[in-house]
Amino acid sequence: MKTRMKEYRARYNLTQAQLAEKVGVRRETIVFLEKGKYNPSLKLAHDIAVVLRVKIDDVFIFDDESDEKED
């Protein structure tokens, strides 16, 4: 899975701490999410997408999905 959280976060000038505050997790969780080392729950993915004002699949891109787009 790939994530575009960092890109969308920069668009709204949000720090990791501010995003963490808005979605109710610790900053470390956002760090691991951006590194692609943490698999979020649907609730957290939805909350992040709402804060970043995009769709969930715009922020979180699964490998099989990106392969399909390339094909």
Binding site: G24, T29, S41
Partner: protein
């Protein structure tokens, strides 16, 4: 979507983490004492009780039984507790078999110390490992 306070989560996390370390340290010291001296007295009994109470209360606080909670900590904490329990069960089976096939006789206090030591140490190690790794799953290929 409600905005929650990460400050509260952070404070709760740091306090419960510190308490978990204190509880673990008390239990490990008692376990080592029981393994080495193979005895069990009133002071050790009270220390084990205090250590167990501290670690149980702080663990539930750590994984977020008190809201708000961080979902990653819940995953990491519950998975490390599950694995720790499983490893301890396997270890106890190993001790049972070793008791049948070797002349070595374990004292009750020594056995109790070994079980406490394995359970607490595996939980600390696994919790630290999963916390540094980020997740309990292997799903990412960046």
């Amino acid at each position: 979507m409600k905005t929650k306070s990460t400050d509260k989560i952070d404070k709760q996390y740091l306090a419960s983490k510190a308490l978990m370390w204190i509880g673990s340290a008390i239990l490990l010291v008692c376990a080592v004492y029981m393994i080495i001296w193979k005895t069990f007295n009133d002071i050790i009994a009270i220390e084990v009780l205090i250590g167990a109470m501290v670690i149980i209360i702080s663990f539930f606080s750590y994984i977020g039984m008190e809201k708000p909670a961080d979902e990653r900590l819940i995953k990491v904490g519950t998975m490390s507790a599950t694995w720790s329990w499983y490893i301890t069960l396997m270890f106890m089976c190993f001790l049972l078999f070793s008791g049948f096939y070797t002349p070595r006789q374990f004292q009750p206090a020594e056995l109790f110390g070994l079980v406490i030591f394995v359970m607490v140490s595996t939980m600390i190690v696994l919790n630290t490992y999963f916390n540094r790794k980020g997740d309990v799953e292997e799903t990412f290929h960046l």
